[in-house]
Amino acid sequence: MAYDLHFDWSSSITEVMLGATKAEGGTRRLSYRIGGGTTLPFLETTQGSSAPLIAFEICDNPQYWSPIVRNYCGDLVNDCGEWAKTADSGYGSDMIRLYLTSTRQRNFSDIPSVGKTVESVLSNTSLPLIIEGSNEPKIDSEVFLKCGEAGQGERLLLGTAEAGRYRSIAAAAMAYNHSVIAQSPIDVNLAKQLNILLKEIGLSRDHIIIDPYTGSLGYGFEYSYSAMERIRFSALKGDTDLAMPIICSAVDTLTVKEIREAGPAIQDDIAVQWEFTTGLAAAIAGSEIICVRHPKTIPLLRKAFASLKSGKNTIGGQ
């Protein structure tokens, strides 16, 4: 291309390593180096810039999961090891994101089971792993330490740090060399503040992934898009406190009214389309990791990313 796609930007996104192969001290069959961008996604003129990663989300207690996914995945949802295995070999995802939903029960105290779950997923897939800890500050510390310990050497991505609770997750990440998802409520300043807080307690910049919080399509996604865009612009203009890769997980997508109330014949398709459109838009806004819950969204996204890379329109019109 004849024109400069870097405008007045001179900085790049910090690179973050996720997953570790044997050579890198872990047991994964591959590892990712994400970030490094110097302009907006899909504008890259340099060869070798990679498409966003697609992470498939699973959980260890499916009662919190969308019935659409439960129906589609069937019995797998009751065994997160098997589920992870299928996500890897069957659905074709790049990463697995495990939600420890079992810890959301009242007075949960079975911390050893957390370790077992993590180990089971690690042994059933050789993809890099994202682990979402508890929702309960009281057990945060133990849960994160257990995850961190179980995944030692694997360069996990641990979630989710927020301004109100980031110390225990950061401590676990620093102790076992994992990275952290830093989530803030759809605001560029709040995202930056959390990154500064994490930096100040010693977490290095290349161990942070920003989650600007993703609203569902039609339910505030445009704010998330704008936040992601502003984060990326600030980063490219040289704000190192915002120069981290972005993860997007529109967790409420499958529960929006349009999908909930869709007839059984089309519900699955609508769910997939909804998730696909959200994920694609987030990727264009700058997300390096797109999380999905419906297996059928994965190939659609992959196809879209490929076509954007090649410049050919191979989506739709069939």
Binding site: A163, G164, R167, D187, N189, L190, K192, Q193, I196, L197, E200, I201, G202
Partner: protein
């Protein structure tokens, strides 16, 4: 009717059944601390019913009481209705107390040009050979003694009617008082004999909380007396909004009367101390916020509190004091400062006059902080202003142990970094009862630099220290143990308090940034920051910068002008030329409506961090924090 007896004073009042204890207390002349205006929201009007029948929903308001208070039968005066004859114990802490009030205006050399003068004349009695009328005779006499040209002086009918008797009774030796009013010169009074040495004026800061009066000898140009007291409108609501709502519901008359009564009380007290007859006060200059001055003049303020926020009048006004009930000479004049908008009132114009920013080429930033804050940025050529709600946190409201600057308030704090032991001083040096605004700013800065809190104000509960704990909903830091205090309970600051403080400081700082952006300047171009208001005078400038309340500039360039409103009123009282410029200053100031400013929320969010999300705006603070926080880690 039911009889309510208030203990420990045994003050009695009769009131209709079903009235609240607060109604009764107000009727009985007890000034209770009702921050929320009696809506059951602030929990400050705690009383104990000793005998008799009342109704109070202890469940609903239980959160305001400690276990001890609850077991002793505490209830809120504003939410307790009286069923039978009752005895009510009112603890001292529920009553409004003596406040530390700022009465020192700045020392400015202002030329003495009052707009009221007295002229003693000894006239030749009329005769057949000189039959000119009484009035001409008097006015020529005044003109001959240095007064204005006789033809230019206007004489109101009331004064005219008194002239013949006074002149003859005094055997043609009398004293005329001439005032310069917007229409020209006016003979406002005629007295028998030589009273020319007895001429006084009052400069009034009509604050929503406090009223300050400076009584000036307008002959010698010296301050004759100073007095201050609470604005009695507090009994109709602590904040302005509550009072306007009170006026909408119950009419404006009561608030108008309370405003004049409050001013009169201060004028009377200053006059009595100085040994002055109030009848010799011929001029009163009032600087107050727009709602206050509207209320004082009995002009409906109701349209100011809702969109599109329109005041009835913004220009300077002159009226006869007698018409609104100010206790001074009935023909005296009342001058009310002009305003810029609803939210930038005469008090701010007075601040501007006091600091002189409208006459300087260099750019100044003026910040007046109370429950509301006002910010003015500019110089002799241009000025931008804005105003907003800072929330009461910086004045000690919405903070568990926050209090006004009353005796016993912790006003200065440092924290020793190792054991996190605080060292503090209180107003009047007595045992602490709470923490006032300046103490809270110190506390925030010290907690930050000792790493007890992070930059969002959250307490690091991982620190092993008895002072850091979680007893209620929020983590807290113990400032003083129960046995060190005057109130018998631990004085703490909670994470929620800190959050409120940060929100307050963020709105002030965001307002500064918004004006700077509007003017297209950075903090480097600001030569001086002026802090106005009582609060500003006690503030630790360095700590105010550390927490990011104000933009970072050289500490020496931050100047406390103290009570700028009264200083400005003083200047306008003694110098009529300065007074004449006020309307022009007010019209020159552009008002920026923060609600309409799209970037304000962004500036606000980025300011909800200590000191700010963009650390490059605070290089000195950043360096200081890096040093002490790294050492700590």
């Amino acid at each position: 009717m039911r009889t309510v007896t208030f203990l420990p004073s045994y003050r009695k009042i009769e009131i209709a059944r079903g009235s609240t204890i607060l109604d009764a207390a107000q009727r009985a002349g007890l000034n209770m601390n009702v921050v929320c205006g009696g809506q059951g929201k602030c929990g400050k009007c705690i009383v104990y019913v000793q005998s008799g029948k009342t109704t109070f929903d202890g469940q609903k308001y239980g959160r305001f009481f400690t276990d001890d208070e609850r077991s002793r039968g505490a209830c809120l005066a504003c939410e307790t209705s009286i069923e039978s004859d009752v005895q009510v114990f009112v603890p001292e802490s529920t009553l409004i107390q003596e406040q530390k009030i700022l009465i020192d205006g700045q020392e400015t050399a202002i030329e003495f040009h009052p707009s009221v003068r007295k002229y003693y004349v000894e006239l030749q009695p009329p005769s057949l050979s000189d039959p000119s009328p009484d009035l001409s005779r008097l006015l020529w006499g005044i003109q001959k003694n240095g007064g204005p040209t006789a033809e230019k002086m206007y004489v109101p009918l009331e004064v005219l009617r008194e002239i013949p008797a006074i002149l003859r009774h005094s055997e043609w030796k009398s004293t005329g008082t001439i005032a310069l009013v917007p229409g020209g010169y006016r003979l406002v009074d005629l007295q028998e004999n030589d009273t020319s040495k007895r001429l006084y004026g009052a400069a009034v800061d009509l604050g929503s909380t406090t009223i300050v009066v400076y009584l000036w000898d307008l002959v010698s140009g010296k301050v004759a007396g100073v007095a201050s007291n609470y604005n009695r409108q507090i009994s109709c609501g602590e904040d302005i909004l509550a009072r306007v709502n009170f006026a909408r519901k119950n009419g404006l008359a009561k608030l108008q009367t309370l405003a004049t009564e409050s001013i009169n009380a201060a004028i009377t007290s200053a006059s009595n101390t100085a040994g002055i007859d109030r009848e010799d006060i011929y001029e009163v200059v009032v600087a107050g916020n727009t709602v206050m001055t509207h209320m004082l003049l009995g002009i409906d303020p109701a349209y100011m509190i809702a969109e599109p926020y329109v005041p009835v009048v913004r220009r300077a006004l002159s009226v006869a004091t007698g018409r609104i009930g100010i206790a001074c000479n009935k023909n005296g004049g009342l001058f009310v400062f002009p305003a810029v908008s609803d939210f930038i009132g005469g008090d701010i114009i007075a601040d501007i006059l006091a600091c002189g920013m409208s006459e300087k080429e260099e750019i100044s930033l003026l910040i007046d902080i109370g429950t509301n804050f006002e910010v003015v940025l500019g110089n002799s050529e241009w000025m931008f202003s804005c105003a907003g709600a800072a929330g009461p946190a910086l004045e000690g409201g919405e903070v568990l142990f926050g209090m006004r600057a009353n005796p016993g308030a912790i006003e200065k704090i440092t924290i020793e970094p190792g054991m996190l032991t605080p060292a503090f001083s209180t107003i009047n040096g007595i045992k602490p009862r709470g923490i006032c605004g300046s103490g809270l700013i110190d506390l925030l800065a010290e907690l930050l630099s000792t790493c007890v809190i992070d930059r969002t104000g959250r307490i690091n509960t991982g620190i092993e220290n008895p002072r850091i704990r979680t007893t209620g909903h929020f983590p807290e830091y113990v400032v003083a143990w129960a046995n060190e205090t005057d109130i018998g309970k631990d004085i703490v600051i909670t994470e929620n308090d800190i959050k409120n403080l940060i929100m307050s400081k963020a709105s002030v700082h965001a307002a500064c940034l918004t004006l700077m952006k509007q003017a297209g300047i950075t903090r480097r171009e600001i030569t001086t920051i002026y802090f106005a208001g009582a609060f500003g005078n006690y503030i630790n400038k360095n700590n105010a910068t550390i927490i990011g309340l104000i933009p970072e500039i050289n500490i020496d360039q931050i100047i406390n002008i103290g009570n700028g409103a009264v200083t400005g009123a003083n200047i306008a009282l003694i110098n009529r030329r300065k007074r004449k410029t006020l309307d022009e200053i007010a019209y020159r100031i552009a008002y920026i409506e923060l609600n309409a400013e799209a970037s304000f929320m962004d500036e606000y969010t980025s300011s909800t961090f200590l000191p700010h999300t963009d650390l490059t705006l605070f290089p000195r603070v950043q360096k200081m924090l890096d040093t002490c926080r790294v050492a700590k880690r």
